[in-house]
Amino acid sequence: MSGLADLGRFEEPAVLVLTSLAERPRHGYAIVQDVQAVAGVKLGPGTLYATLARLEARGLIEGLPAEDRRRPYRITGAGLALLRQRLQRMEAVARTGLARVAGT
């Protein structure tokens, strides 16, 4: 996907962050908790905020007014479309892979 492919090593964290924000706006630490619960991946603070900065710069997420020095982020329409496209592709790959594994 062209929108995330140029993120390099931040591509996978970006998908996880977008997936987390697709449910509801969350602040950074809540994103970490959610990603850990959903994917079993613990995002470090450096990785998390590098990913947030990239997504924000690309207009895929946006910050909301800070509450108690914690700023929640929400996914934008562009981010949602990109995430949907990405997840559909992953789903197709997973379906094909599972079918092939079952056939062996």
């Binding site: 706006p25 950074g28 959903v38 470090g44 450096g46 710069a57 946006e62 910050g63």
Partner: protein, 275 residues
């Protein structure tokens, strides 16, 4: 500890995310993994800043860099080469000249810091380091017979080191291509025309041209090439500015209330929709 690590990040990053990180990670003890992650993030934030420059600052950068170059050229021209050569020999003269020019590079770098011009401060640092390498360290080594080289080879070796290092800078940053290009061009010209196995030496021996005067002009041209390359404005990564402005007071809040202490994701199919 977290506060110290955050100080390593660029100012714009700290303004945007610093307090947030402190709230989340400033209270408890930071683990080794998170510490390393924050260190890596600081390096990444410097190498790959996600914010575009606000407006074009290159004319200001250009004039400062050009003024610095002119000062360096005047300093070079005024340097008492003959007297130093008589007293200390060519290697000592090179070392002193290199130190003087490196000091000039540091001054330009400081001017870049003062004016918050990243490209100018980088330029100053590059110039200082490059001159330290090829006009101080290597001639000194050659003079003390640490390196088995004649007087021509240190320049070539130093140029290779500097160009390789600049290529690393280009690969790491992906944005500062004018710097290695300018540096490489300047070094190429300088090496081509100043070493003992060079065209200038050949002309001096065979055509009777005045080597030192020719070399000064060549050095000036090399630095002018570097300044011209530096003055070429880099392509902005994307329009707009970063960090983005905070939402104005009274901005629309998402319809679904923000949950500061969310529970783990329960239903992947539930998608928050923009109001």
């Amino acid at each position: 500890m977290t506060r110290l690590l955050i100080r390593l990040y660029p100012r714009a990053w700290r303004r945007r995310y610093g307090s947030e990180v402190l709230v989340h990670y400033g209270c408890g003890r930071l683990g080794v993994r998170d510490t390393l992650d924050l260190l890596g993030g600081a390096l990444d934030a410097h190498l790959h800043p996600q914010w575009a420059r606000r407006g074009r600052t290159w004319p200001w950068t250009f004039f400062l860099a050009a003024a610095g170059t002119a000062c360096l050229w005047l300093a070079t021209a005024a340097f008492p080469v003959e007297s130093v050569l008589e007293r200390y020999g060519s290697e000592a003269e090179l070392e002193l000249l290199g130190l003087a020019l490196s000091g000039g590079g540091l001054a330009i770098g400081l001017a870049g810091l003062a004016t918050r011009s990243r490209i100018l401060s980088t330029f100053g640092a590059l110039m200082a380091m490059r001159l330290l390498i090829d006009a101080v360290a290597l001639p000194a080594l050659a003079n003390r017979h640490v390196l088995p080289v004649t007087s021509g080879y240190p320049w070539l070796l130093a140029s290779s080191l500097a160009i390789g290092w600049s290529a690393l800078v280009a690969a790491a940053t992906r944005r500062l291509w004018p710097i290695p290009v300018g540096l490489g061009l300047g070094l190429f010209l300088e090496v081509l025309l100043t070493s003992d196995i060079s065209l200038a030496a050949w002309l001096g021996r065979n055509a009777g041209l005045n080597g030192p005067i020719l070399l000064r002009w060549v050095a000036f041209s090399a630095w002018a090439a570097i300044v011209a390359a530096l003055a070429t404005p880099s392509r902005q990564r994307r329009p707009g500015s970063w960090p983005p402005d905070d939402p104005a007071a009274g901005a629309r809040i998402p319809r679904e209330p923000y949950d500061p202490d969310p529970e783990p994701l329960e239903a992947v199919g539930q998608v928050w929709r923009r109001p």
